[in-house]
Amino acid sequence: MNTVESLKYFIPELILLVGAFFVFTIDFFVKNKRIVSGLTLLTLTLSLCFVKQPETALPLFYDFFHLDNFAHFFRYFALIAVFITLLLSYSYTPIRNQYEGEFYGLFLFMAFALILVATANNLLMIFLSVEFLSLLSYLLVGFLKNDRKAKEAAIKYLLFGSVCSAIMLYGMSLAYGASGSLELSTIGNTFFFAPFKPLALVAMLFFLVGLGFKISMAPFHMWAPDVYEGAPTPVTAFLSVAPKALGFAILFRIMAVGFLSLGRPPSLILTALSMLTMTLGNITAISQNNMKRFLAYSSIAQAGYILMGLAVLSKLGKESILIYLLAYLFTNLGAFAVAILVEEKTGNEDLAAFSGLSQRSPVTAAMMAVFLLSLAGIPPLAGFIGKYYVFAAALQAKFIMLAVIAAINSVVAAYYYFRIVRLMYLTPASGPVFSAAPKSITVVLCLTLVVVLAMGIFPSFFLDRILS
């Protein structure tokens, strides 16, 4: 499909681009940043309105982009993630300065980059979009001026990310050399033939490094806790969800199209990585005392569960990734929303800020409890449906060891999630009683709570829409 034809399927992305530039421009002239924020939301809403499900898989721009149902899901995913993050940012005090508009503009670019990642179908495009995403992330992490931690986080993120990208690029060059093409499908076809297999495996490993960094897969996860702690909390929330999800999307596409013909070894490696990731994440999370760091390790562990779906590389595995990610999106953003609220009210990022929350703000505490239970995978909440799906995928593919390890890990995870529940409910109150929460956070909380509950109780509604 040529450029002109493709453009009409590309309207939401174009809106985002135009909106982003517009926001940057307006930001120069307008003092009231509420207008800028309103404009970003408007852009996102418009973009959301124009998202249309493709009837068949569309090879846009000479098949540089591949818009299928899979990508379509992630378009929604990216837009919703950005939308919620923006709502969270509005009530986050440290961002309120003269560069506020820039922050919003960067997020519109971010949305654009996320969609590119979701649809990219060519090594070149994959590299470019992932780098785009990374660069934006570096900037957002280091956004806070004169914040020692933020700057440190940004530089660590940048160094770590760039090295991983370079390794992935090296892997891409090897894949290119082996197959003579940058098209994923061609690469997949070539690797079907035996002589290329060792090279293909090395290339795949390098891909895993570059994208594993994005999804914070062990042992390429080391950046995550530091960066999550240093970044502004809304950005942390965002990073823990959107780039990770898109990383899974593109990793799945690469594995399923490019390296499927390698047979069992990729599955084995991914299984090992999955076990390692969830175990490391869970074990380290136990002793964390900083809320953001805590959630960072939790999100590493969650990545381990999602990797189960990837490791089995089946249809059910794919579905399980989508469903887990959706559940995770709302649950984790909900948890972060509470974390931001608590941070705003107490000025403290430590877990101790949660002690006795149930007396100080029963509703907030109850919501947090729901999100934590969902993260722990307790039915009937969204997180359980996700966990159920990955277990199902693993068992269907007879990855019994993986499922057992995951089950044990879930218990460990429950232990530390319940640390916070315990703090909120079982320890005596300390700290201020909450006044009303800011509206934007309230909106986010209600939205995420409703989805988390609804997805747990009536999952079929969501499954219908995701899996159609």
């Binding site: 495996l201 074990i283 380290t284 002793s287």
Partner: protein, 648 residues
């Protein structure tokens, strides 16, 4: 006119009295006793005509399904045959009389209504047991009697000794009960029924066929069922609870621990007699246990000074007689002694209770010369003692004679000799008690004795009458009617009366009485001298063969007591199985608690500790230096590269 089904009312009425007394006792106060006595009396009047009909040769039974065991319905019902009617006859009469007596004895007690509630429950259970037609119902009422015994022994529960005695009694008998339970489970698995009549029929068939169906299983069943008897009837080696049970109020001792409940163990063997007859090797065990019990208890009774304890050991001894009789296939003899013994032993206890009531002491060394002050009590006591000693023509003579006869005629000469010796000792210790209590001079001037009220003495006389005449149905004057009556039950050997045995029996009794008279009325020093001469035997007897002390010594000085006892080895078993059960198990359970805490829980906690340990390691990887992170990435790549190249 009484129909046979109304027999159900017999246990039901006391039960109603129990329920009402328990729930409304607070408002009934002393009327509680009237209720219980009334229930018991009416039950008596219902029961006696039915029993009479059975004595005429009738047989009643009825049953209804209670439970499904697999596809087999388990039917509960009553059966009125010679055995149950005899027991029912005895229990209703003796029970009613004792309750009347208790009205006087317990007068003024703060838990008066509670006492009568328990007694009524006991009556209800005992009567159910008497007429029950299957093992399960039998066992259920058996257990409820155990409960009542527990509650009533511990009736004065503020006294630690009473509370402990109740505990000991329940637990000790429970050991036997569990054996009984497994016993009839075994029986059920062997013959598929728990019903007495069906069992009897099956056994009779097997007897005719020559060999039992499952000889091994049935022997096991019989032995285990006999465990129930050992516990309940206080046979060696589970006898230790009965003397302690004297902590209960005296009417309870009379009713439960002399006349009825302890006899239920003997009744159980009688009930299962067809089973015991058909399996080999079990009856000798029964005989040996019974003989040892009879002799040992009589020996201990020789030197006891507590009036109730003497009677308690006497009860154990007499129960041993009954068991021996059954072991020698003397169903008629054993049952006969059961009935007669109930009368005179209940009387003895009640009279002893009257003495205690009048003097407020229990130690016979502090009594003396009470005959003049309490003539009714003393007279009835002496009548009962004569019956117990076996002086013709009182009831005890006839029944004891039957037992001696079965030992003699069946050729067990050693058993016969031991039993004869026991009879001698029985007469001796009873009259030692009488002479010390009622004759001579008062030894403690602080004791101001007075005769008990009529409500207590009237039952004494009634029972005294019973003690005299109840033996006649088994005597030659009535042509051994009772033995023939019992022979309807199960086929068992009958022996011709022997004048030699009678003479021996009377001689033993008379010797015992005279010796006691000589020593305790004239030459009191002889007693001391004898005690010094045979100091070993004396101390053995005085200390109840050390059954109780053994345990505490085992804890305090475990090795000292080792070589010291005549029954050392047996006592050791007793210690382990009975006396020390509580404490020995406490030790074990302390160890188990430790296991629980450190091993089982430890495994789980270990997982937690391991997690935390790993946590502390993994956490350290997160150094904060970005290049360390990259190094880990590099190492990760290398590891996976190697692994990848290996799996290809």
């Amino acid at each position: 006119m009484v129909t046979s089904d109304q027999i159900i009312l017999v246990p039901l009425l006391p039960f109603i009295a129990f329920a009402v007394n328990l729930l409304a006792g607070r408002w009934l106060k002393h009327r509680a006793a009237w209720l219980s006595v009334a229930a018991s009396t009416i039950a008596c009047f219902i029961a006696i005509p039915v029993c009479w009909a059975v004595f005429q040769g009738n047989h009643f039974a009825n049953q209804g399904t209670w439970l499904m065991l697999g596809q087999t319905p388990l039917k509960f019902g009553y059966v009125m045959d010679p055995l149950s009617s005899s027991l029912l006859f005895m229990v209703t009469i003796v029970g009613t009389l004792i309750q009347i007596y208790a009205m006087g004895y317990m007068h003024g007690d703060p838990r008066y209504s509670r006492f009568f509630a328990y007694v009524s429950l006991f009556m209800s259970a005992m009567l159910t047991l008497s007429i029950s037609d299957n093992y399960l119902l039998f066992f259920m009422s058996w257990e409820i009697m155990g409960l009542c015994s527990y509650l009533l022994i511990g009736f004065y529960f503020e006294k630690d000794s009473a509370a402990k005695a109740g505990f000991k009694a329940f637990l000790t008998t429970r050991v036997g009960d569990v054996g009984f339970l497994i016993g009839f489970l075994t029986l059920f698995s062997a013959i598929g029924t728990l019903n007495f009549s069906e069992m009897n029929a099956l056994m009779a068939n097997a007897h005719h066929a020559g060999a039992p169906l499952h000889a091994g299983l049935l022997s096991l069943a019989a032995l285990l069922i006999f465990c129930g008897t050992i516990g309940k009837s206080a046979q060696f080696p589970l006898h230790v609870w009965l003397p302690d049970a004297m902590e209960g109020p005296t009417p309870v001792s009379a009713l439960i621990h002399a006349a009825t409940m302890v006899a239920a163990g003997v009744f159980l063997v009688a009930r299962s007699f067809s089973l015991f007859m058909i399996v080999p090797n079990v009856l000798p065990v029964v005989t040996v246990i019974g003989t040892i019990t009879a002799f040992m208890a009589a020996f201990i009774a020789l030197t006891q000074t507590d009036i109730k304890r003497i009677l308690a050991y006497s009860t154990i001894s007499q129960l041993g007689y009954m068991v021996t009789a059954l072991g020698l296939s003397g169903l008629g003899a054993g049952t006969f002694h059961l009935i007669t013994h109930a009368f005179f032993k209940a009387l003895l206890f009640m009279a002893a209770g009257s003495v205690i009531h009048g003097t407020h002491v229990q130690d016979i060394r502090e009594m003396g010369g009470l005959f003049k002050k309490m003539p009714h009590t003393a007279t009835t006591f002496i009548i009962a003692s004569l019956a117990l000693a076996g002086i013709p023509p009182l009831s005890g003579f006839w029944s004891k004679d039957e037992i001696l006869l079965s030992a003699f005629a069946s050729g067990h000469k050693i058993v016969f000799m031991i039993l004869l010796l026991t009879a001698f000792m029985t007469a001796f210790y009873m009259f030692r008690l009488i002479f010390l209590t009622f004759f001579g001079q008062p030894r403690n001037l602080k004791v101001h004795a007075h005769e008990s009220p009529a409500v207590m003495t009237a039952p004494l006389w009634a029972l005294a009458f019973g003690s005299i005449v109840i033996g006649f149905p088994g005597s030659p004057f009535m042509h051994h009617w009772f033995q023939k009556f019992m022979a309807h039950m199960v086929h068992h050997p009958e022996y011709e009366p022997s004048a030699f045995v009678m003479a021996c029996s009377v001689a033993a009794a008379v010797c015992g009485i005279s010796l006691a008279g000589v020593i305790y009325l004239k030459k009191i020093r002889w007693a001391q001298k004898t005690a010094e001469t045979f100091s070993f035997l004396y101390r053995l007897s005085l200390n109840k063969c050390y059954f109780d002390e053994l345990y505490s010594r085992c804890i305090v000085k475990p090795f000292q007591s080792l070589g010291r006892f005549l029954f050392g080895f047996d006592a050791r078993i007793v210690d382990g199985a009975v006396n020390g059960t509580g404490h020995a198990t406490l030790f074990i359970s302390a160890v188990k608690g430790w296991i629980d805490k450190y091993i089982v829980d430890g495994l789980v906690n270990f997982t937690g500790t391991l997690t935390h340990f790993l946590n502390s390691i993994v956490k350290r990887l997160q150094t904060g230096f970005v290049q360390n992170y990259l190094l880990i990435v590099f190492i990760g790549i290398l590891v996976f590269l190697v692994w990848e190249l290996k799996i290809i």
